[in-house]
């Protein structure tokens, strides 16, 4: 178990080291997420007053779109030097490789969310921090569900020519439940007064989704990565 955890961290640390050196994924995803929120702000904020109930949707769309960008780039890096083959021949458990890549993507998406959540709160006058704990739990559970499925698909598609097109085509239908749950849970928190039981119900759904898809991904990663 210790060796497994160490292997996960070695892979994550390598991804973070490359990212701190290039800042390629961080800059592109942050820029994309900010642009996304700003464009929606121009559309949905009239005379300084945002339309009702749009903040939750915009927040989760920005997370999903920038997440897709990060997933594609994270594996493109492994494809360019065919380093994925070197990792696959190494004596680390394939699930450790999967979790290492997933953890790296989660850390990057967390950095993106730290910037866009306050921006959405500001632009759409949304009370995202009134119930900060449950909001953070929704973000963590939703991002984990989205990234867990996305990491598996991005790894599967790394050798295909049309991977940039295929990733969203495969990913979005399967992660629609995550996005809906994230949006509905966040919207429940933004109601006046906040509907906390409803927010907790959507959070439970997200946790259930996370457990199911993490289990499936860990189970299928090895056969999926064997040609």
């Amino acid at each position: 178990m210790k060796a497994f955890a160490r292997a996960v961290w070695v892979v994550t640390r390598k991804d973070l080291l490359i990212e701190t050196r290039t800042r390629e994924i961080l800059f592109t995803t942050v820029f994309f997420a900010l642009a996304c929120v700003l464009v929606f702000a121009f559309g949905f904020v009239k005379e300084g007053r945002p339309m009702e109930d749009v903040a939750a949707g915009i927040l989760w769309i920005a997370i999903a779109f920038s997440g897709t960008l990060a997933l594609g780039r994270a594996f493109e890096r492994e494809r360019q030097g065919e380093t994925l083959r070197a990792l696959l021949i190494a004596p680390i458990d394939r699930p450790a490789l999967y979790l290492g890549k997933l953890l790296g993507i989660l850390i990057l998406l967390a950095a993106v969310e730290i910037l866009i959540v306050p921006l959405v709160a500001l632009m759409f006058q949304a009370a995202l921090f009134d119930h900060a704990l449950i909001m953070v739990a929704l973000l963590v559970a939703g991002t984990l569900g989205f990234a867990a499925v996305g990491t598996l698909f991005a790894a599967m598609l790394v050798r295909t020519r049309s991977r940039d097109v295929m990733l969203p085509v495969l990913l979005y239908p399967l992660t629609v439940p995550v996005i809906i749950a994230g949006v509905r849970g966040t919207a429940a928190l933004l109601q006046q007064p906040a509907d906390l039981p409803m927010a907790r119900a959507w959070l439970s759904f997200l946790l259930f989704f996370d457990i199911v898809f993490l289990t499936i991904s860990l189970w299928t990663f090895e056969p999926v990565m064997t040609e």
Partner: protein, 216 residues
């Protein structure tokens, strides 16, 4: 986790990709301390055979035995005894030479990483470029580093796909010397090449693949 073998046996291995047959009943045996060259034109099946021997690809039929074990039962312990240098060099250009070697040493769960990395850089003649990112290296420097990356865990089976490509004479000579050292240390070396001049006097056996079959 400890596993070793002293012979690689490829027995009647075939591999198809859709309707195309890349390998057709190929058999090959190589022992410890030997170097075997796989020759053949592009598309003859050399890289496919190396990928199967590296456990990255499954044979459609036939058997690959590493001593008494096969890829399915050997798992990660078997992979720990295999080194692979592909045509792509499996290096991260954003990392330094030292970081690349250190990363792979950690991935292989090795001990004495600092000592191993220093020794590998010394052998590659890259000690003074340790902290330079690989993106700035020439093809020859990358090739030397990649070979040390493939050898850092002292593999029993070393698989090299076109290792002489793009090297000048000095680098080819250094590579030949490094391969001799690995062979003398007991490695089973299988390399593919188009460059028969580069392997003259180096290999113990040659096998030529023609359209996925071993030529007589």
């Amino acid at each position: 986790m400890s596993l070793d073998f002293n012979q690689l046996r490829i027995v009647d291995v075939s591999r198809t990709f859709g309707r195309r047959r890349a390998l057709n009943k190929v058999s090959l045996t190589a022992g410890a301390g030997t170097m075997t060259a796989l020759l053949g034109h592009n598309g003859a099946g050399k890289s496919t055979l190396l990928s199967i021997a590296a456990t990255l690809l499954q044979a459609s039929s036939g058997r690959v035995a590493y001593g008494d074990i096969d890829a399915a039962t050997g798992g990660s312990a078997l992979r720990a005894r295999i080194g692979l240098l592909g045509h792509d060099l499996y290096l991260y250009p954003e990392l330094t030479a030292g970081e690349n070697l250190e990363f792979f040493a950690k991935v292989y769960g090795l001990d004495g990483i600092a000592r191993r990395v220093a020794a590998a850089l010394e052998r590659a003649g890259l000690t003074d470029r340790r902290d330079d990112t690989v993106a700035g290296f020439s093809r020859g420097m990358r090739q030397k580093l990649a070979l040390e990356r493939a050898l850092i865990h002292e593999p029993r089976l070393l698989l090299l796909d076109e290792p002489f490509t793009g090297l000048d004479e000095a680098a080819r000579s250094a590579l030949r010397d490094r391969l001799r050292v690995a062979r003398e240390a007991g490695a089973i070396i299988i390399l593919t090449t188009h460059d028969t001049a580069a392997i003259e006097g180096l290999t113990d056996a040659t096998a030529t693949l023609v359209d996925g079959r071993l030529a007589a």
